[in-house]
């Protein structure tokens, strides 16, 4: 399905990342947004509240982030394309209902404009320290998908991607941006609607008598219905069977949780996306994501000028993590240099995937400002020593 031209602001714009996320959501056909104001994400909902009355969308400013996330799941089950937006403290408050979204398999999108933490931390300054929280933050076993844009253009594009992935796999999908990208203003090109491909929700063709709400199709994702379709479904956060009924035993738990996990793990080759540059002859690979991938550019250029063979692996989809590709590269290169605005999160995944075949060098940063490229350059030098 193509995007609706009425929603798409085709043309060349000068937008910050937050506003670009909002335009991405609109282009994706998002028609329900619930949010609670929090710096530095507020501009997303501000733009949504300005634009929605003209495109037939509903924005509601909820009383807190728990309510925002819960209403997004309700709206998704009513048939809306639903999204919420937040940052650190709000993200923490959403965690219980993010688990509910995973358990109820509600397609939805969550934008996290990361700021420095922990706690209230640095409301107006960037961080990348929610990268493990997004993967593991709610209790229990589940899988999610997360993307990390490094420019306003990508904020636009990745928000559309996030909606498409959430419709296809029926999981909460996260756009993990940060204050720097969120407040950075750049050229954003919004293509004509017919160039924007949208993934439709897969509704069942079965009758209410035949239909089982949580019986998976071949891709492990069940077909959906909406509230009000006459199927009289029961949807619960309790462990449930294919009928959707709560069943409190290990067999049902095993079957359900295994599927929730495998629907992403077994489909991960279709989900994973990254950019690679000059990795063929590389002796060291710089692995990064989000704003840190842009800050690394001067360091990479400087190293290349000195004849260091450095390749780049930039994660577009951060979760699921491309462990297979990292292992392949690990067998060929001396080291991975991983700059991130935290004290070691995605670097743990790199280390795990490399299985000791290559060194991993973290270039940490506590957040509040981006890396000094010189620090990244020094790490590259150390890597090839």
């Amino acid at each position: 399905m193509k995007a609706n031209p009425k929603n798409v602001l085709t043309g060349q714009h000068y937008l910050d990342g937050d506003h670009a996320c909002a335009e991405g959501a609109l282009s994706a056909g998002c028609n329900f947004v619930a949010g609670y104001p929090i710096t530095p994400s507020t501009e997303v909902v501000e733009r949504i509240s300005e634009r929605f009355p003209f495109v037939g969308g509903i924005f509601i400013q909820m009383e807190d982030e728990m309510a925002s996330m819960a209403s997004v799941i309700g709206a998704a089950w009513a048939g809306a394309k639903a999204m919420t937006v937040t940052s650190g403290p709000g993200f923490s408050l959403m965690m219980e209902n993010i688990g509910l979204a995973a358990m109820m398999e509600a397609p939805c999108v969550i934008i996290n404009v990361q700021r420095g933490g922990p706690s209230t931390g640095l409301p107006t300054l960037p961080g990348q320290a929610d990268m493990m929280q997004v993967r593991w933050g709610s209790h229990g076993d589940y899988e999610i998908i997360a993307l990390s844009p490094n420019s306003p253009q990508e904020c636009f594009e990745f928000t559309i991607k996030a909606f498409n992935l959430s419709e296809k796999y029926r999981v909460p999908v996260f756009v993990m941006t940060d204050e720097c990208v969120g407040h950075m203003t750049e050229k954003v090109i919004i293509p004509p609607a017919e160039k924007i491909e949208l993934k439709l929700r897969r509704y069942t063709k079965l009758s209410p008598e035949e239909y089982l709400p949580f019986k998976p199709e071949k891709d492990l994702v069940p077909d959906m219905v909406k509230a009000g379709d006459g199927y009289r479904i029961h949807v619960t956060g309790l462990t449930h069977d294919e009928k959707g009924y709560p069943v409190m035993n290990w067999q049902t738990q095993e079957k359900l949780v295994r599927r929730l996990v495998e629907k992403i793990r077994l489909n991960k080759d279709k989900i994973i996306e990254y950019e690679e540059e000059e990795t063929e002859e590389a002796e060291v690979v710089l692995l990064s994501y989000g704003i840190s991938s842009r800050v690394s550019i001067p360091a990479i250029q400087k190293a290349r000028k000195e004849g260091i063979k450095i390749g780049v692996l930039r994660l577009v989809v951060v979760w699921p993590f491309p462990e297979k590709r990292v292992y392949e590269l690990a067998k060929k290169v001396k080291a991975f240099v991983v700059p991130e605005m935290n004290y070691g999160q995605m670097v743990l995944e790199v280390e795990r995937a490399a299985k000791g075949k290559a060194k991993t060098i973290l270039v940490p940063h506590g957040g509040g400002w981006v890396h000094n490229p010189e620090d990244i350059y020094k790490a590259i030098k150390e890597a090839v020593k």
Partner: protein, 296 residues
Amino acid sequence: MKEIEVKEKEGIEEEHPMKHLLRMDRIPHIWCPTCGIGTVLTSFATALEKSEIPLDDISVVSGIGCSGRIAGYIKLDSFHSTHGRAIPFATGLKLGNPKLKVVVFSGDGDIVGIGGNHLIHAARRNMDMVVLCINNFIYAMTGGQVAATTPLTANTSTSPYGNYENPFNLPHLVASCGAVYVARWTALHVRRLAKSMGEALKKRGFSFIEIIAPCSTIYARRNRLGDGLSLMKFYHDNSIIKHGADTRELDIGFQSKIIVGKFVDIERPTFLDSLNEWNRKVLGEKFREYGGPIDD
């Protein structure tokens, strides 16, 4: 011997009168004998039968707790959400598809304790939904802890020497926040409760009914109030029907008189009415009303 066999067979073949509204494949339910929730559910079934709302248009949302299990037994679209978040979940359902009639069915701990903030905001917004709050004065599912509704001096597992915290007066709380329909009944006022539920279902806006129900296993036992049935009867017999009563005077004490009735029945624009009317006024023809679910 032969006669007995016949009788047993007849017994098996007898159909449950609420069969079409219950998920019979989930019965027996988990509620204790003489718990008040079953009676309340029966009143709701009566109200649904009398209402002209197509059953496929109704969604029931529950939170967590004994009453939260209602969503699992009622044969309507039903959602069993997280603790305290039934109202915001229902808000999303309603706004996602405004054609739905959304009913939140849950307990006092869920709606008023952990979910209290959502309750007052939904009432303030006049979000179009019916909230049925079964108040058994205690956190029953988790073993009988003190609640925001426990009467003063009542014994609970976390107020073992008696409760010293002042409880909420629920009708007053929601009425002062802007609910358009507010009533209170006990679980044994089956006909009046069903009638009230019918009115609430017809009403546009935020309707709230508090239902005083006995917790037979914990509250009754801990406070030596007999079995659930006698406590249910006590609540009923000690209630005073006072329609239109001043909501400030509706506090409930330990084994005190309980004022019941319909206290508020007013008209006020709903959240969606206000959203649409205001935007039409300030944006004119450029305003596009929400078009409902996608792919419809």
